[in-house]
């Protein structure tokens, strides 16, 4: 056993950090707002050239042959920049399905434009009546000749209002028979049969949408892999994201900001017992953040498929979400009256009006819900590790 970071990995980390310090423009460092895409294009292109934007991709398609630990190190360091907002859905969720199960033609059609940022994507999995129970999805794809006609409703669709493409799990009906499994299809969001209704979340921001698919014509050439195996593809590849879902780098960043507040602490404005409570809560979070990062390392070093390791990954997601929420809540509390104030409503951006601490904290409530609720994670643990189900 060895609990010290590999010196070569740490040297890699320092190289990444130095590169970011030297080449990342100021506009691309502020993560709290969403700057115009042009402002960060140069930075994105640089990352693509370095092969750091999508290191997990096959080398032939723009990836880098590095270990899972180094990929994670990249994520950790790049969390300081706007890279964390660069269409993770496309880079991490749909691209892996395409490059693993898609045809060469599909790879050529979709992967380069994902990498360049020319096309953005949204994920059509959840439906109004199918949240955790993905396999109960009712969106149908009626196959006739070379086309599917896709009809149904998708919901909680992040970024649908900005996306060029959607990848969706649909149930194929052919020759009058509804298939048992779901199929993975992709299509353009510009199709007139696609209607989008915005959903504002508790943070006052427009992230999510409901998407109505009113008979969208999708060529059967847009089926990825085989019919009926869509959920299998999606689930198999989510395994690669197990360490990221804990959002440890974001939480660490918040804790660093909070620790920095102690340096600029104004004794006249804050009562000593408030300071004591703040220090206590922050120190407890820092103690646990260390534990979280070691748990991330354990998951990164484990082989997926082993029930114990799947349980560990589920526990990691639970803990990651909880810690993120507590850190953001402390951030919210620390800003006192300021946290409660809405900004003046002059901005027409989709960033909403709540204060930054309020937005961060309230949105973090989604961490224990999205991507597999904490309750589902507990079911996984109870079944795979404890043998209770």
């Amino acid at each position: 056993m060895n609990f010290a970071p590999d010196p070569a990995d740490e040297e890699f980390r320092l190289r990444v950090r130095a590169f970011i310090n030297e080449f990342c423009p100021e506009e691309a460092r502020r993560v709290s707002t969403r700057p115009a895409p042009e402002k960060v294009k140069a930075w994105r292109d640089l990352l693509v050239t370095q092969k750091w934007l999508a290191p997990h991709w096959p080398v032939d398609w723009g990836g880098l042959d590095i270990s899972p630990v180094r990929r994670y190190i990249l994520q950790e360091e790049l969390a300081a920049t706007i890279t964390s907002q660069m269409d993770g859905i496309a880079l991490h969720l749909v691209a892996p399905v395409i490059y693993t199960f898609g045809s060469l033609k599909q790879k050529l059609r979709y992967l380069p434009k994902i990498l360049s940022g020319e096309e953005t994507w949204c994920q059509g999995f959840s439906e109004p009546e199918s949240g955790s129970d993905v396999l109960s999805a009712k969106t149908t794809a009626e196959r006739q000749g070379d086309y599917y006609t896709v009809t149904g409703e998708k919901i909680w669709t992040t970024g649908a209002h900005r996306a060029d493409m959607m990848f969706a799990l649909v149930r194929v009906r052919a020759a009058g028979r509804l298939q048992h499994g779901l199929s993975f299809v992709v299509f353009s969001m510009r199709d007139p049969a696609v209607r989008i209704r915005p959903i504002t979340t508790i943070d006052g921001v427009h992230h999510f949408n409901q998407v109505s698919l009113n008979g969208v014509r999708v060529p059967t050439a847009n089926l990825i892999g085989e019919e009926g195996k869509g959920w299998h593809y999606a689930r198999f590849l989510l395994v690669n994201e197990r360490a990221l879902v804990a959002q440890a780098p974001n939480t660490r960043k918040t804790l660093r900001r909070l620790r920095a507040y102690l340096d600029g602490f104004d004794e006249d404005r804050v009562h000593s017992y408030e300071l004591a409570d703040f220090k206590e809560r922050l120190t407890e979070l820092e103690i646990e953040q260390d534990a979280l990062e070691f748990m991330v390392m354990r998951v990164l070093h484990s082989t997926p498929g082993d029930p114990f390791n799947d349980g560990l990954a589920a526990a990691l997601k639970i803990k990651g979400a909880q810690l993120r929420q507590r850190a953001n809540e402390l951030f919210f509390d620390a800003h006192g009256a300021q946290s409660l104030q809405n900004k003046t409503a002059t901005s027409v951006s989709d960033d909403g009006q709540l204060s930054e601490p309020a937005k961060s904290f309230l949105f973090s409530l989604s961490g224990s819900i999205a991507g597999g609720t904490n309750e589902i994670q507990r079911n996984i643990i109870a079944g795979m590790v404890l043998g209770l189900t």
Binding site: M1, F3, E286, F294, M297, S302, L312, L386, L388
Partner: protein, 375 residues
């Protein structure tokens, strides 16, 4: 980084576990309780013979040359099986102190016997008082002209009690540099020592030590005067680490015993295991256990860190976190056992009592919180 045992460690862990299963089961525990002395010296010599006491002592000092990983394997197994041997106090802290900080003469004289389990020394530092979160030591060692010291003071809850050969006593002395502490090797039958036997919550035997002008010669100052503060800090840190490792084993047993209970206890026609609310509570217990184990890995990596202050911060934080997490796991274990959970004959409650003892020995959560607050 690597989170897997080597093949040797796997074999070692298996053998430790097998020994514990054979020797620390309920029957032998009941037999031990009937005897007046809970600390079985012949059993202690057995584990010395197996190499456990010297597990992390260097080869050149007569040990097995293992690392903190071997130590954690032993401690976790002891926790798992409620061995209640004074491995932490006597097997680990005392031997590590002498090996790392002892003068050559002290090491040569004591270590071979300690590692073999023939002789037993226990750290006697705790006085039950704290100052701004840090342990307070009032025991005083006054130096005389001829070079020897007179030690006067009181130590509290010293495990394993009177059935040892000697104690490593911490005391204030003006002769030592800031913060003015030193460690003294004192035989248990030294003139001026009174041992008051007590039994602790988990059934361990301990004693309070009262010292009245106990004379200690200069060559029995452990490591000489200039090393004491490093040694005392190290002793405290390694003891905290050991408690965390033992607690992980304790929590593991609680988890699996509770799981087995839910599977076999039927109410309303079905096993309790079918109730999702209970499945989820068990999942939370598992999550806390693995989170704590991840923290333990950080501790194992930091024990030999060059920055002692950093090492201390990590270990104090770990103790605070793991104490709360494992006690919560243990409480849940009792709760999920229903009425049988609070029947004393059920082993499930013993895990909780053991956790209370190991995490309460140097002051409890409030004291730790105070110290963390000073970070």
């Amino acid at each position: 980084m690597n989170f897997s045992y080597t093949d040797e460690q796997v074999t070692f862990a298996d053998s430790v576990d097998r020994y514990c299963v054979r020797n620390f089961d309920l029957h032998s525990r009941a037999t031990m309780l009937e005897k007046e002395q809970f600390f079985d010296r012949s059993r202690w010599e057995e584990i010395g013979h197996l190499g456990w006491i010297g597990a992390a002592i260097p080869l050149e000092l007569g040990g097995s040359g293992g690392t903190v990983v071997e130590t954690s394997i032993i401690l976790t197994a002891m926790g798992r099986h409620l061995s209640q041997m004074p491995y932490i106090e006597c097997g680990l802290v005392a031997t590590q102190l002498i090996a790392r900080f002892g003068l050559e003469s002290q090491r040569d004289l004591l270590l071979p016997h300690l590692v073999a389990g023939r002789k037993v020394f226990a750290l006697a530092s705790n006085e039950g008082r704290f100052d701004k979160g840090a342990p307070r030591i009032d025991t005083l060692a006054v130096k005389h002209d001829a070079g020897e010291f007179s030690v006067t003071g009181r130590k509290e809850n010293i495990v394993p009690g009177h059935n040892v050969d000697g104690f490593i006593v911490s005391a204030k002395t003006q002769e030592s540099e800031s913060p003015g502490l030193a460690l003294f090797l004192i035989p248990r039958d030294a003139s001026g020592i009174t041992l008051e036997p007590i039994t602790l919550l988990d059934g361990s035997v301990a004693c309070n030590i009262v010292m009245n002008d106990v004379v200690v010669s200069a060559e029995n100052v452990l490591g000489g005067l200039h090393q004491a503060s490093h040694a005392i800090d190290f002793a405290s840190d390694i003891e905290d680490l050991a408690c965390c490792a033992e607690a992980i084993g304790i929590a593991e047993s609680v988890l699996w015993r509770t799981r087995d209970h839910l599977r076999t206890r039927y109410q309303y026609g079905n096993p309790l295991a079918t109730l999702q609310a209970l499945q989820h509570r068990m999942a939370d217990m598992y999550t806390e256990l693995e989170f704590s184990r991840s923290k333990l890995f950080q501790c194992l990596g930091v024990l030999d860190h060059e920055n002692a202050a950093y090492r201390h911060r990590v270990l104090i934080g770990a103790k605070y976190m793991i104490a709360r997490a494992t006690k919560n796991i243990s409480r849940e274990g009792i709760q999920l056992h229903g009425a049988s959970g609070i029947a004393n004959e059920n082993i499930i409650g013993r895990y909780y009592k053991r956790l209370c003892v190991i995490f309460g020995m140097k002051g409890g959560a409030s004291r730790l919180k105070r110290e963390i607050h000073n970070f």
